[in-house]
Amino acid sequence: MDFNQDHFALFGLTPTFAIDAEALDRAYRELQTEIHPDRFAHAGEAEQRLAMQWSTRTNEAYQTLKSPFARAKYLLELQGIQAMDANNTAMPAEFLMQQMEWRESLMAALAAADYAGLQALEQAAKAEAERLLDLLAADLDARRDYPAASETLRKYRFLEKFLADIDNAYAELE
C-alpha cells in the first residue's frame, strides 16, 4: 500500500469538497480498527512501529478531511495552490470593512456583558460562514475555479477565527 497516496484515496473517497461525512467516519473507524497500535501491543517491534505510523497518518488524513477549512485547503494543495500562503493576503475592501464592524460589535457586546447581542452576532456570522461554504463547494467542485476558491477560503478563515472569538467571549461571560 502506498504511503504517499492522497487522503481521499486512503479512505476510498473521491477528491471533492462535498463529501459524505458518514462514509468518511465509517472508513476512518474501519481503518483504525485494522491498524491502531492497540491491535499490535503484543506484536513485534516492526509491526508496532508501522501501526503507529499508519494510525498517525490515518488520524492526520481524517482531521484534514473532516474540517471544511482543512479539506478545502488540502484540495487546493493537490492543485499546487497554497491558499493561505503569506503572499496571498489581498482581500476585498468591503469584506474587511464588515469584519471590522463585527469585531467592534463583539468588543461592545463583551464589554456590556450583552448575551443577546453576542447570540445575534453569532447567528449572523454562522449564516455568512454557511454561505461561504456553499460558495466553496461551487468554486471547487462545479466551476473548478481555484483562484476564486482560494479567496473564498481566506474569507472563510476570517469567519472561523471570528466564531472562535465569540466562543471565547461566551466563556468569559460565564
Binding site: 465509517r26 480498527t33 503484543h42 513485534g44 516492526a46 494510525s55
Partner: protein
C-alpha cells in the same frame, strides 16, 4: 531461576497461551489491580480479602518499605516517613505544589521533580509510586500464579507529559511491562460501555483523591472515541479534606501544631467527609499531643457551604470540554460517575443538575477504572482476538514551541486524536546563526511563562546563512500512551542536523540502573541478571509474535525463501537464548526485528485492504 520454555520454530503456541495481564489503577488515595478471569473483569483482593491498597508508603530505618493499610495506620505516628497522595508530586517541581508547608514532608527541590527526605535518604515520587506498583504486582502474581506479561496503568486524562512519563518510569523500576498508559475516564467508559452496550454521547465525571477529569466520548459500533477532555490535575477529595481541616482549626482556635497532630486532624477531616456521604452530620473528636481536646459537629449543610467553591471548580472544565466537543449538556445521553469523591451527595446533585439527568453510579466508583483497565489489558496482551471494539483517545493539552517574544506557537492542539504527528518549519533570526534552542511547551496559554516547560534542546550545525534562509523542520510525535517525542532537522540546504529528544524529566537508563542498585531489596540482586531477564522476556515476546504472525498469514504473504529466512532467524534466536549471552540475545532480537519488517508491512497492508474492502461492500449496500 526457572528455565524458559522454547517451542520449535514454526510451531505457534502463542494463540493458545493465556497471557497474564492486569489493569492497574494507581490512584492518589487508593490503588487497585484487576484482571479478566473467564471473560469477566474482577478486582484482585489482598490476602485478607480487601480490594483497595491505600496509596501510602512508609519508609523504615531498617527493612523494606511498608505499603498500604499498615503504612496508613502509622501516618500520624511517623508523618515524615509515611507518604500519602504521592501521585500529587509525580512530575511536579517544588514550585508547582500548592502550599507544601501544610504537608509534613521534608521536600528537596530538584530539577524536574521534587524529592522527599526520608529516614532512608532522599526518595523521588517515582520510587515511591514504584513501591505501590510493586505491591500490586506481587498481589497479582500471587493470585494468578505466574509472572505478568504486561499491565495497563491508568493515569488522569489531564496528566501532562511529565506526569505520564513519571508513571511509566515507576513501572520500569519494578520491571512491569506497560502495555499502555490509559486515561482513567476512558477506562471507566470501557467498563460501563461494555456492560451497557450503548451508543451515543457519554460524559465521564471523574473526581478522585487528587485529580479531576471530565471526558466526553462518542460510542459508535464498538468504537470509543474521546471527543474532548479537560480537568484539573490538582483538584480532588484531598482538597475537600483540607477545607474541613481548616474549618476545624478555625472552630477550635488552633494554629501552631506538631506534624503528628496535623496528620491526625487531616485523617479526622477525611473521616468526617466520609460519614457525611451517608449521614446528616458528623461528630469529630480528637485528643492532641498537647492534651487539648477537639469535639466538633459538622453538618452536611456546613460541609456543602465549605466546599461549594470546589464543586464549582469542577464545572468550569466540564463546560470547556463540552464546548471543545461542539456539544451542549442536553446532547449527553449518560453521565458516568467515577472516583470515591463522587460519593459526596452535593457533587451528585450538582452534576445531575448540570446535565439535567441522574448520573450513573451502578458500578463501584472506586473500582470502575481498574475494571476497565483490565479489559483493555486483556485485549492488548493478545488474549482476545478482539475485532469488535477500539479506543481512540486524545492528547489533553496543546503542545508547542517557544518563538520570538516569549510566545508559544501551538503545534499539536488539545484534543487531537492520538497517535498524532505534526511538523512545522522555523527559520533563523540572525545572519550566520548556526544553532537554535528548541523549547517545548505544554498548555493552553499564549505566553511561555504560563505554560509547562517540557524540554529544551539545542539544534547545532545549521550551515551559516542569511537570516530567514534556513529551514528547520520540527516534528512532534505523540504516541498511543500520550507521550511526546520531538525531532528537528535542517532541511533547507540538504545538510541535515538531526536530533531526537525525549523530554528531560524522563529517567535515563543509567538513572534506572542507579535506582535499582540503591533500592534495598535489589542491593543483593544482580543488575546484570535482571537485564538478562528483561532481554529474554523481550526476545520471547518477539518470537511469540512472529510465530503467531506466521501462523496467521505466513503462507499467503511469504515466498518459500522468505519464509526460510525468517525461520532461520528464529533458529538463531533460540540458539542465542540457549547461550544466555546478553549481547547475543540482543543481536538476535535486532536481526529478527529487522528481518520481519517487510513481513510486518505486508500484514499491515492486508489489514488496510480489508478495511477498505469492508467499507466498499457497505457502500454498495450488500
Amino acid at each position: 531461576m526457572a528455565l524458559l520454555q522454547i517451542s520449535e520454530p514454526g510451531l505457534s503456541t502463542a494463540p493458545h497461551q493465556h497471557r497474564l495481564a492486569v489493569g492497574i489503577d494507581l490512584g492518589t488515595t487508593n490503588s487497585l489491580v484487576a484482571t479478566v478471569r473467564n471473560g469477566i473483569s474482577v478486582v484482585l483482593n489482598d490476602e485478607r480479602g480487601r480490594p483497595l491498597l491505600p496509596s501510602v508508603v512508609r519508609y523504615l530505618k531498617d527493612g523494606d518499605p511498608v505499603v498500604g493499610y499498615d503504612a496508613q495506620a502509622r501516618q500520624s505516628d511517623d508523618p515524615h516517613n509515611t507518604i500519602v497522595s504521592v501521585k500529587r508530586f509525580m512530575g511536579r517541581g517544588l514550585k508547582d505544589l500548592i502550599d507544601p508547608s501544610t504537608l509534613p514532608y521534608h521536600f528537596v527541590d530538584a530539577p524536574g521533580m521534587v524529592q522527599l527526605k526520608t529516614v532512608v535518604g532522599t526518595k523521588t515520587p517515582v520510587e515511591m509510586s514504584a513501591e505501590i506498583l510493586k505491591a500490586l504486582k506481587m498481589r497479582a502474581e500471587t493470585a494468578m500464579g505466574g509472572e505478568l506479561t504486561g499491565a495497563v496503568i491508568t493515569v488522569p486524562a489531564y496528566f501532562d507529559d511529565a506526569q505520564r512519563q513519571a508513571t511509566k518510569d515507576a513501572a520500569r523500576l519494578v520491571g512491569l511491562n506497560v502495555l499502555r498508559l490509559l486515561n482513567e475516564p476512558t477506562a471507566a467508559a470501557i467498563a460501563y460501555g461494555l456492560d451497557n452496550s450503548s451508543e451515543g454521547i457519554y460524559a465521564v465525571y471523574d473526581l478522585g483523591g487528587g485529580t479531576f477529569d471530565i471526558s466526553i466520548l462518542k460510542l459508535t459500533k464498538g468504537v470509543f472515541e474521546v471527543l474532548a477532555t479537560n480537568g484539573d490535575s490538582a483538584l480532588g477529595g484531598d482538597d475537600f479534606d483540607r477545607r474541613v481541616y481548616c474549618w476545624m482549626l478555625e472552630q477550635s482556635g488552633l494554629s501552631v501544631m506538631s506534624d503528628h497532630d496535623k496528620a491526625l486532624l487531616m485523617a479526622k477531616a477525611r473521616e468526617a467527609k466520609e460519614v457525611l456521604t451517608e449521614h446528616a452530620e458528623a461528630r469529630i473528636t480528637a485528643v492532641l499531643t498537647t492534651g487539648e481536646l477537639i469535639d466538633l459537629t459538622l453538618t452536611e449543610g456546613q460541609f456543602n457551604e465549605l466546599t461549594a467553591g470546589l464543586v464549582g471548580k469542577t464545572l468550569t472544565p466540564t463546560r470547556k470540554a463540552l464546548r471543545d466537543a461542539g456539544l451542549a449538556a442536553a446532547d449527553v445521553k449518560g453521565v458516568v460517575m467515577v472516583g470515591g469523591s463522587t460519593r459526596i451527595p452535593r457533587i451528585q446533585a450538582a452534576v445531575g443538575e448540570f446535565f439535567g439527568q441522574t448520573p450513573l453510579t451502578n458500578l463501584d466508583p472506586d473500582k470502575v477504572v481498574a475494571l476497565g483497565a483490565a479489559i483493555q489489558a486483556n485485549v492488548l496482551a493478545g488474549n482476545k482476538r478482539e475485532d469488535d471494539w477500539l479506543l481512540l483517545d486524545v492528547a489533553p493539552l496543546s503542545l508547542g514551541l517557544e518563538t520570538m517574544g516569549g510566545l508559544v506557537e501551538k503545534i499539536i492542539p488539545r484534543n487531537s486524536t492520538i497517535p498524532i504527528a505534526r511538523a512545522q518549519d522555523f527559520t533563523t533570526y540572525k545572519d550566520g546563526q548556526t544553532a537554535m534552542t528548541i523549547h517545548v511547551l505544554q498548555g493552553e496559554r499564549e505566553r511561555v511563562s504560563d505554560c509547562r516547560s517540557l524540554a529544551r534542546f539545542e539544534l547545532r550545525g545549521i550551515p551559516p546563512m542569511v537570516a530567514g534562509a534556513a529551514r528547520i523542520r520540527v516534528t512532534f510525535q505523540v504516541d498511543a500512551d500520550g507521550l511526546l517525542s520531538v525531532s528537528a532537522r535542517e532541511t533547507g540546504t540538504g545538510v541535515e542536523a538531526h536530533i531526537e529528544v525525549k523530554p528531560s524529566y524522563g529517567l535515563t537508563d543509567d538513572e534506572v540502573a542507579r535506582m535499582l542498585r540503591e533500592s534495598i531489596d535489589h542491593a543483593l540482586d544482580d543488575v546484570d541478571a535482571r537485564q538478562l531477564a528483561e532481554l529474554r522476556v523481550d526476545a520471547q515476546r518477539l518470537v511469540d509474535a512472529t510465530q503467531s504472525a506466521l501462523a496467521e498469514n505466513g503462507v499467503a504473504l511469504l515466498s518459500q525463501s522468505e519464509r526460510a529466512a525468517i525461520d532461520s532467524l528464529l533458529g538463531q534466536m533460540n540458539a542465542a537464548l540457549a547461550t544466555g549471552d546478553p549481547s547475543a540475545i540482543k543481536r538476535a532480537t535486532e536481526a529478527l526485528n529487522q528481518g520481519t519488517t517487510e513481513f510486518a508491512a505486508r500484514r499491515m497492508d492486508v489489514g488496510i485492504k480489508r478495511a477498505l474492502a469492508g467499507h466498499k461492500i457497505e457502500d454498495i449496500g450488500i
